[in-house]
Symmetry: none
Subunit: 212 residues, 4 copies
């Protein structure tokens, strides 16, 4: 391992350390009320050091999402490229994957959808924004591809697969945000997972041609 590479690893380790801290703080206080100092303290670093690893607060925030998007894409591609599954099985696997990713790190998924629907997006650097757009596009593309298989197989209704992917994505994010907001208001028992399951079922059924 070259010295260059070792440095790079060390650097990555630090970024992780910060991201972990940021995640805790953001989910604790929300984006606006979390200060860089809070995060620095949580990461046991100085405020200044954060800026050695992240250009600014917005980008640090967006970085949380980046990782989960990357993970999500891997999972989606895995389903999409799996040649052993028929279209219907793929859609089932797709919903399982989404649920898995959610359960892998709920906080960060909520962050992702918050980011997606927030002004923060406007403030990101061209570079980071491109990266996020790229990952989103690819993820959506993978989802669309899966639906497309079903459509081409004549199992699913004739709709634009991209539109279906958007709807699937919206359904997922909509439920995540709505259920987590209900928790803010009502401190309800957490029905999120049940709701997601039901939603995916209904959605899958809705995709099918009636005569089936």
């Amino acid at each position: 391992m070259g010295i260059q590479e070792r440095k790079e690893r060390e650097r990555e380790r630090r970024r992780q350390q910060i991201i972990v801290a940021a995640k805790r703080v953001f989910s604790d206080k929300g984006f606006n009320r979390a200060t860089m100092e809070d995060i620095a303290k949580e990461a046991e670093l100085s405020p200044g050091s954060l800026y050695l690893y992240f250009k600014n607060k917005d980008e640090l925030y967006a970085s949380l999402s980046l990782r989960i998007l990357q993970y999500l894409l891997i999972r989606l591609d895995h389903v999409s490229l799996n040649k052993e599954l028929n279209p219907e099985q793929k859609v089932a696997a797709l919903t399982d994957a989404m649920l898995d990713v959610y359960e892998f790190d709920p906080v960060i998924i909520i962050n992702l959808f918050h980011l997606q629907s927030s002004e923060t997006l406007k403030n990101l650097s061209e570079e980071l924004l491109t990266e996020i757009k790229d990952l989103s596009r690819k993820s959506l593309g993978a989802i669309a591809g899966i639906f497309n298989e079903g459509i081409e197989a004549g199992i699913y209704i004739q709709e634009h697969p991209i539109a279906l992917a958007d709807i699937f994505w919206s359904l997922f994010s909509g439920i995540i945000l709505w259920e987590s907001s209900k928790n803010i208001i009502d401190k309800n028992k957490d029905y999120l997972k049940d709701t997601l399951k039901t939603a995916f079922e209904v959605f899958s059924r809705g995709l099918k041609k009636e005569e089936l």
Copy 2:
């Protein structure tokens, strides 16, 4: 018209004037970057005057949502209580109503869903929060009622109607937020309405028992 009443009207007119201005500014700059001074300028009032009509920035923001929620509830109740429609027709009317409300004032609907998924919710006065919760609850209840009719009629799948209402609501808000965020990113042509229609179709089909 008594003098009292005239004053009350004048006051309401002012509130509207401010709300209109706030709507413009919020949707232009987003909640955090919109300053009270911006809004005052847009409303052609002094900053101090805003506080004669709204307790603070959060409550001004939330007030935007209040009106649309009230309107939404009226529309939903109208559908729900219409005795001439069978369950399926009601669900169709429901989606029409939601679309109407969206088209009535897209900006403000987006605001509503932003508010719903933001920390701002936590800062509202007990009073206003109660009002919003109340309207939301009633709206969701009306939706659930409609689904319930279909379930009891044996047309729809056996799921908890409240869960179905949540899903319907999430689907709606998810698409609104997602499509408007895509606009931020891509300045795309606006597919929102088409997407919503397709989504509602798929959802409705998914609700039905297979044997139908």
Copy 3:
């Protein structure tokens, strides 16, 4: 009674009404936290109306003191001019008078001494400041006169009577402020009157020539 005079009386009645309200509000919230609107509400008038009777908040505040100063001066003159009392009796009567005035309206006396030791003084109109200075000077003069009698009678120590009057005045106001501040801090039982009595006794004894 001419119409002019009637108007003047009416005007004076209003001023009183405002002063009474202001007294309540100032003593309740302190000068800085009392708003003109508070006072207007208490006086059952509109904020604008206060300005028909008082030039501004500072002057309204100072007006409270003016009345008590006028009353104080009357009492002091009464003692000073009383030919039936010998010097020692006059000093005793003097302390009684001060105590009386305090008890007549403790709140307003505290206000007076707050005013005296505050920046507000700097903001008063020339006219009002002159009036206050004039009343203060006359009061101090009356006190000094009393002490002077004792000095000339050879009963009291040879000190400048004006200095003695200043000391007497300071002792009085110092105790008022100190004891009322202790109340703020400790919510103690109110020792003020006892303290004042003791103070005046000690002071009177201190005035006398030793050989007596």
Copy 4:
């Protein structure tokens, strides 16, 4: 000198720098009209920096008093514990100490008494208020102790020593405030020291039993 200690010193130096600036600005404009920006400018710092050393404006103001109270207490204890002085000498030393402290920093002493008789007191943090109360209590206690010696020695009149201490303290603060207010009004020659001396003399004489 460890690095820790050096930092602590540096920090303390800064606090002093700010306190000196604040003293100038407060005594120039009074508490309410002095802005944090004024003070920052005077201290050649940024407004934000003030908050690194003082929690808020009130506490900065109160800090001025803290130091003089500490110094005062040292001086009072020194007199109180001095075994070479008889009671009468102690009272003389006491008045000298008070005068010394006044001359050491008149502006700050005036601030102290302003603070004591103001609403600001109510806004202080529990911690700071406790510290001030504690120092005041101890100072008053030391004074009371001195009077008590005279009383027990049968030289002074039989009064509650705490009451005598309160009176002494009130006399001191009353004169300080009154004379400094006269300066505001009249820009008089400064008689304060003379007045204080006379006051203390009269007071001391008043303490003694007549038969002495």
